[in-house]
Amino acid sequence: MTAGQRRVGWAAMLVAVVVLVLLGARTPPTSGTSDDRLYALAGQMKCLQCAGESVAGSQADIAVKMREEIRSQMREGRSDDEILSFFADRYGQRVLLNPSSEGVASLVWIVPVVAAGLGVVGLGLAFAAWRRQRGDAASEGATDEDQALVAAALRGSPDV
């Protein structure tokens, strides 16, 4: 296979992937009154009676009651945001497991992105520095001494 054929092949592959992902992009709807939506919403709330469990996972009284409340609000046709802010308005922000994107809380979203960005930039700078360093060293090449060492090593190796 030539490099040209390969290139066509890769392009075809890319098209296939894009087409397939687009074909399957339609997510199963979690709207309406399905239990999937119920548990998705409950999973975004903390069970305040429990230690470290969500409303979706807990069997504590408060979690059961909150799930019932979510269900009845879903029946009334409320949106996800409306339901979540209903609870936050009464129990406080602490009931939401998904930190808000406003105020101090937004730092939890921003800091990782900034840190990752800095990491990528740092790695890029390091590669650039190494490239310069290599550029300086490249002129030296292998000496006769190096070649002799390699030859000696090869002679001693049972694999070759």
Binding site: L48, Q49, I62, K65, E69, R90, Y91, G92, R94, V95
Partner: protein, 177 residues
Amino acid sequence: MKRRSMLIAVVVGVVAVALIALFVTSDMESDPLATDTNRIVGRTAPAISATDTEGRPFEVEDYRGRWLLVNFFATWCTPCIAEHPELVAFSDAHAKSGDASVVSVAYNDTPEKVVQFFAERGGDWAVIADDRSDFSIEYAVVGLPESYLVDPEGTVVHKFVGGVRKAEIEREMARNR
């Protein structure tokens, strides 16, 4: 090179020390029920429109001009049983002047058990054992028992977590008068 590694060491050290300081200053014995972030206190008391165990209609609004203690309880909850005499004492003390009342809202309970509970332990205030509507969520109840003090203007002025004492209620009433 040297300066850069020093810088990194300093940054790492500062972050680590900050982390440790954070833990040192944090409360080590946090109880999930001890931190309450409810936002009901300071608001107009959420409506409770229901029929009490004796078939009379009940509205929080009807208590305007008087103090009202909204008490969430259950017959299966031990601290609720323990606090009950305090509620009876509070209710009795204000029965004559009529300046304060109690309403008990049952949580995960059956009307029969609730009626029996009051028959055995006393208390002649309105009791709501309606399992169709849920007022506990409107009041941001987390655990039992919890009580909310509503002032004569209809504003929630205090939340009591756990069993209440008569003296505590009186103190909060005096403080918010």
